[in-house]
Symmetry: C2
């Protein structure tokens, strides 16, 4: 057994030196500072008591550090999966109840088992179910849903739990008159500071002489500073009692107890669709971040190993009070830019967070919820990408519509149904497009051996000979269309005794395509028309031979080139016509 292959960290540690250790050490500190407020906020977003955010940032981090094929991806709680967790659990148990917590662990366990299974089966291709427009629409839609879910904290109101995002919006409008003004003020200040801490702070720091990377790092850590400042202010000035700002409050410190989540068949089957959606979304996001980081240093990501590592990380969360985790975009970039060289940075960060959980939870009692909500809002607002919608629309209406529909589905039906709708729509759109491939009746460019579309070029044709080129693979989605289209072309040229199907654009053929060719051959034969093939590519030719199709085709032939087909077939009828360009 090759440990290096199964535990990539061991491979990454070959030749590990002092500079690597320094980089990993600094990065682990920086990531810890960033992760602590994030993990608390995402636990609340997932509907869990805050300490579970810390729990989900200990073992899962360490496990990914050991098993991940990416050296710098930072795995842990992320906003979108927290939202998906809440949406999966809310119909099943009261938010924050012990039963709810246990279901969150079970969900992480299911996510872990499915990921691990797909990874071991090397079935990473399932991620291709999420096409780019679907991912873009899903991320933008769920960022909007997350912002919507945080507005109650900014307004300082309590609203009824809602199953659909639009209900949340309605509830917020109804609760508007109850707005708590001090909370709103604090929220606006926090939002303003957090926004200023982004590009403006970075530019300012660069202007006063910091290097670009240092300025970037400082601006990424500013939210942690703002959170710390707010805790200090609330604690020292007693803003929670004097102004009525809601705070996180005391929560139990210590490490999570190791325990298996309660198993029940009913819970498993009702959580399964959500678990599948979380696996897909978490994996697609992780791999895309990991690839971006890896490319900077020419390091490759192994998609199947990523599935295994994410699966193991989620299983670790399932037995230690966690909820579904994945690779976080902003956090991974911070980890990378702060100098992380290997997964040791993640192992160290996990250790630091364990220390915080053991010794320093008291500090967070004064953390105002409104500030946490503001950090979440500012963090996810960067994920909203409406420009992509315009670009896709310009590229192809259908792809733009796919992104818009996925976004709308997420907003109207919730995250799970949004993913499902996106997958179904993208398959339907693909089938609709693939079912109408480009086909052209061609003729010979005079004096050459080139054959082009009769509609676009002034070419030579023969009344007894129909030459049709198909520019797509022959497979189940288009087999019937190709059959129909050829019969239509033949109806327009009733004198044809030979049909040559030019397969230069056919990269592959499946059984449905083969069946269609066979049917076509028989139908043409019943009208004394012979079907031939030309310019068949190697893999298609192999497939046709395996199926014994060349024999079936007789008296039709398979010609190497269209030119040879014309030489062989037009001799039988020497009349010659010429079509004009349309």
């Amino acid at each position: 057994m090759n440990l290096w292959r199964h535990i990539p960290l061991l491979g990454h540690l070959r030749g590990y030196g002092r500079a690597d250790a320094a980089g990993d050490g600094v990065a682990s500190l920086v990531v810890t500072l960033m992760l602590i407020p994030q993990s608390l906020a995402y636990a609340l977003l997932a509907g869990l008591p805050v300490q579970y955010g810390l729990y989900a940032s200990i073992l899962p981090l360490a496990v990914y550090g050991l098993l991940g094929s990416s050296r710098t991806l930072s795995v842990g709680p992320v906003a979108v999966l927290a939202l998906m967790t809440a949406s999966a659990l809310q119909p099943l148990a009261a938010t924050g109840s012990p039963e709810y917590v246990s279901l969150a662990m079970l969900l992480a366990g299911l996510v872990g088992v499915i990921s691990l299974g797909l990874g071991l089966l090397r079935a990473g291709f399932v991620a291709s179910l999420l096409s780019h427009p679907v991912v873009a629409g899903f991320i933008t839609g769920s960022s909007l849903v997350i912002i919507l879910s945080q507005l109650k904290h900014i307004l300082g109101v309590r609203v009824a739990e809602a199953h659909y995002p639009w209900q949340t919006a309605v509830n917020l409008v109804i609760a508007l008159p109850q707005t708590h003004l001090w909370t709103l003020l604090a929220g606006v200040i926090a939002l303003a500071l957090l926004v200023l801490a982004r590009a403006p702070l970075r530019k300012l720091l660069q202007r006063v002489g910091l290097r670009e990377s240092a300025a970037l790092l400082a601006s990424r850590l500013a939210p942690a500073l703002i959170v710390a400042l707010s805790m200090l202010l609330v604690g020292v000035l007693g803003l929670d009692t004097h102004l009525g700002l809601r705070v996180v409050g005391d929560f139990p410190g210590g490490l999570p107890a190791l325990s298996l989540p309660a198993l029940s068949w009913g819970a498993v089957t009702s959580l399964l669709p959500a678990a599948l959606a979380i696996v897909l979304v978490g994996y697609v996001e992780s791999v895309s971040v990991g690839r971006t980081l890896g490319a900077r240093k020419g390091q490759r990501i192994d998609p199947n190993q990523e599935l295994v590592a994410l699966g193991a990380a989620n299983l670790a969360g399932a037995v230690s009070g966690g909820f579904p985790v994945s690779g976080g975009f902003a956090r991974s970039i911070v980890n990378h830019d702060a100098g992380a060289r290997t997964g040791l940075a993640s192992l160290l960060a996990a250790g630091l967070i364990a220390l915080v959980a053991l010794m320093a939870t008291g500090w967070f009692a004064f953390l105002p919820q409104v500030v946490l909500a503001a950090t979440v809002i500012v963090a996810v607002s960067t994920l909203i990408d409406l420009k992509e919608l315009r670009r896709l629309w310009k590229f192809r209406r259908g792809e733009g519509a796919l992104m818009a529909l996925t976004m709308i589905a997420v907003l109207a039906l919730g995250v799970e149904m949004g993913v499902a709708a996106g997958v179904v729509l993208s398959l339907a759109a693909f089938l609709a497009r693939a079912s109408r491939p480009h086909m052209a009746v061609v003729g010979r460019v005079p004096g050459t051996e080139h054959f082009r579309n009769v509609k676009r070029h002034d070419v030579q044709t023969w009344p007894n000979l129909l030459l049709v080129r198909v520019d797509e693979n022959l497979f189940f989605a288009n087999a019937q269309f190709v059959e129909d289209h050829l019969e239509q072309a033949l109806a327009a040229q009733p004198g044809a005794a030979h049909v040559v199907l030019i397969a230069s654009g056919v990269n592959g053929i499946d059984a449905s395509g083969l069946h269609a060719l066979g049917e076509l051959k028989r139908r043409l034969a019943s009208r004394n028309v012979t079907l031939h093939l030309a310019e068949v590519k190697g893999p298609v030719h192999d497939a046709l031979q395996r199926a014994g199709f060349e024999k079936d085709l007789a008296p039709g032939q398979v010609f190497l080139t269209t030119h040879q087909a014309v030489l062989a077939l037009q001799g039988q009828n020497s009349h010659c016509a010429s079509a004009q360009a349309a």
Copy 2:
């Protein structure tokens, strides 16, 4: 409004003459003789009282005759849809109860609305969801299920209703000791006669001098004769009372009352999946039969008009005591061979069946169930095609496995889940295959402008230049694979400063493919490698331009040919290496 387009029969009747009328008249008589026992048997198979078979053969036949784009397709009750009807309704109501009958009409209504909707939206491409191996597996599997369901009549036993086909098999084995020997004897005789009436009778009649077509027709009508004979024997000799043969018994005559099926939201939602499956299966079967018949006379089928016509026929059934109908294979061939020229044959047959329903139902009281069961078994046994399984397996393991799995799913889980499993498996298999396209690193065949795979040919390569050909469309299923594969190829040639992606095999690109190209370009750029494209086809080039990709690619270029790319890029590094064939 163009009536000829919307009511194809009007178009078909242009120039209608005496010969046409004679053909349609004879065919309608022959089809009626064949349809009457079939419709009774399929009503029983669907779990309905026998008279509903006649009802489903009146209005639906007439409506399809008017609206169908096929001139000779015979629409009415068919075995597979009767089985699917039973499987959809049995969990919802007691077999044969008034509620069951009403649900059958509702199911026909849903099938009608969905078909009509798909036809009006011109969405016939949804049928492509059923790939050839799935259809083949489904038809063979459900034929076996139908035979299994008829064995109780042959054995003369009563068995408990079962939800899954394998339960039916178990129940039959348990009931074996109760076998009624006279019924079994009658069944074996009927089966033997029906089998002899097929090829052996046809060959005999040809040998005694009948023309091939006449012999074929006679052999097709033999089952009706056998049924009539059995009625006569039972009636005259009183075999039902003396031997205990179960007969159809008296059933109410008269035409079906026109009425809307009872609508309930709960019933609609629970019938919806079955209705969708029935639409797909019914449509695919109808169109395939219609095409086969049409091709003999060069008549085209309009797939979307077929959806409209089948939808209208099912709606007609929904208001007149019918259950889901579709084009029948054997019956349509008989209709065609007996001389049918237009849909008038179907209209006349509908009239004849209405006459039978009005006046002659008493004749069928003595029809033995065992004989009906034997006709069903012999009819569907011709649909079992295990040779196809072997052919598909030889062509490509995956396609054979797809047929086998669909068949097994039908037998183990029932018809509906079988269709669903087939669709899901065929999409999964497609994605798995499409996600790993063929890619080749190529080099120049010395002295030419041809570029071939370095692994297969002795070609010229350049250390600063990586030429990769991709033989598949760039779309969501393979975008990531192509990205990964290119980075892998680059890792194997670390000196490369330019990567040329040769797109001669790319017929199309979607947003995911475009996104992958953009990511690849950025990742390569971060390592000072430039991405170029070559041999981009017209439609792909158009798409790239719409997305403004050519600007994004700079300093990379889009070359017309690979040769031009090499001329432009190798000048920057004049070293030259040569790879040997592997």
